[in-house]
Amino acid sequence: MLRQLEGSHAIARSVALCRPRVVCAYPISPQTHILEGLEELIRSGKLQNCEYLNVESEMGALSVAIGAEAAGVRSYTATSSQGLLYMIEAVYNASGLELPIVMTLGNRALGSPINIWNDHSDAMSVRDSGWVMFFAETNQEAADLHILAFMVAEKMRCPVIVNVDGFILTHAYDRVDIPSQEAVDEFLPPYAPNISLDVDSPMAVGTMVPPEYFMEVRCLAHRKHEDSLALIERAGSTFEEKFGRNSGGLLRGYSLQNADTIVVAMGSVAGTIKDVVDELNHEGGKFGELTIVCYRPFPREALRNSLKNSKRIIVVEKSLAVGVGGILSQEIELAMKGCNVEIISVIAGLGGRNITKSTLKEHFSKKNHEKMTFLDLRNDIIADQYRPICSAAVKAEKTCPIQP
């Protein structure tokens, strides 16, 4: 049913349609409206047979979900930013235990300095944790990806994070089609747990694994992720057949045919980029856009196939590995190894800095690009505050004495 809803409430309704039995969370902006929405659905009886728990910390939230999943019921939680860091030990634990928890991450910057606004730093902090990671471009996708997430998680026996841009999506009112309970029930079968704490068939879950077996555990986890690329793609097509929308899969291309320059992005900024691509093409440009829907497992082959005929790839990324550079752009660089294509990193929107159509357009239109750019950087502040640690002369000698 078509509705005009806040993103967070669309997500809450969508999660409720997946019939979780345990929902637990600890409040942090901008994730709060999601759990408030779910709490209301549960207390009002619209979502039945579900325990809702207010816990004492994010560590508690994910730990409750771990206990519930290990005992054999579908569980859900949500967090953002510092909250994700606070629960990070449990994040690795959940994937190691192969518990198909679904978690929404209302993407937000990481401090210090403290900043409550949107970027993808939090998501990037768990990119190697063994969770599947989806990124939503719109609130329709945010809602749909949660249904897909439960399906993929349970088929893979692996937890899934659905990344939703904090505020930009979580707090925006948009048109969202919320599917019927019947349709979701047909798509998502009841949870058939792989493990459960059963008194009739006792099992020890989470034992120590010594060096003789640990490598194999990790290798199998990696194989599972690689294999599941096909599963995720197929789940996306099945979803499209059932619901008439392409909300899942690995990648989504826009105007890729004959594109010389392809802009790659994740999350809500892809929408703004599409508007820019249209304008540039209208003015005679050859631009395309590629959205990464599934970031983990990393769809290396699919990316390569989509990008190999372009001449230039501009990666617009909302995170920065300090001392390294753009994270996504470097992963794409590895994926494109051997292809004669220029790859440019545009670090944009950190800590909620607005990403505007006009600056993107200006940047995409440039003939020559720096390898990496901070979009809309306030150069006056940088010029004023930047103090080189080593002088140019010292740098040239390749040794840098520690300054007093």
Binding site: E51, A68, Y213
Partner: protein, 321 residues
Amino acid sequence: MSHPTIGNRLVKNVTVQSMRDRPNCLTSGHRACQGCGEALGARCVLDAAYAATGGKIAVVNATGCLEVFSCVYPENSWQVPWLHSLFGNAPAVATGVAAAFKQQGKSDVRIIAQGGDGALSDIGMGCLSGMFERNDDVLCVCYDNQAYMNTGVQRSGATPAFARTATTLPTGNYLGNDAQTGKNLPKIAMAHEIPYVATASIGNIHDLEEKVTKAIHIRGAKYLHVHVPCPLGWGYSPSDTIKIARAAVQCGLFPLFEMERGKIMKSTPIKDPVKVDDYLKSQRRFAHLFGKSASPEALAALQDIADNNIRDYALAENANG
């Protein structure tokens, strides 16, 4: 209940541990040290809970000695459904299990969260407090050996005053762990006014089993604090574990009591008093308080703790009437 083992024939009130077919929830073959108080404590607690529920228990274990020595893949000593997640989250994981069981209509299966003093009084205290505050249907059992034994005997929040650990080595004027320390987790539990809080000792199995049997049937949050000596960390012969455990109770340093909804309901009087000095002398972790560099002040401070316990918990033989 089946037949008591030989030697207990004349004892009317037999313990689960003395049964020939006791459940052995933590069965033999594990890798605990000789004389491990925690292994004994865990077996006693779980066997009693198993017996009281007809085998309907599930266990969530914090990281620590108990987890490490009991199950290194592909071996496993647990005979009950058992889950280990992390060091600091066992009470929260148990809350999740409880929520799931409620949803599955398995309220007859009782849930135990267990861990050491480090897991529960230090790193996991937030999760523990949350579980208490929500009054989740979990029995949390702390096996208190008063330091981080798994990592090599470092000080924990529950380490008693003047004890020597790897991170509180007495040197010069420094007498080991500072005075006025040793976090009192039972009192913290009591402050949450949960339905049931108790202390127990592996030196008194009858008392321990009674408390487990009582606690396991109560709905809501329960806390049991079990004193479990550690031969390696405390410095005594592995054959003396029970003797040391009893001495701690009988000298007044580890009082046995029960609390309900924030009030002390019952305590176990001291029957065979032991001098605090004698209890301390039996362990190398307190050896620096005696001999050449003896500290009468430290000994007096520890004696004070015992005296206060005897007064506050009415532990004198005639106190309970």
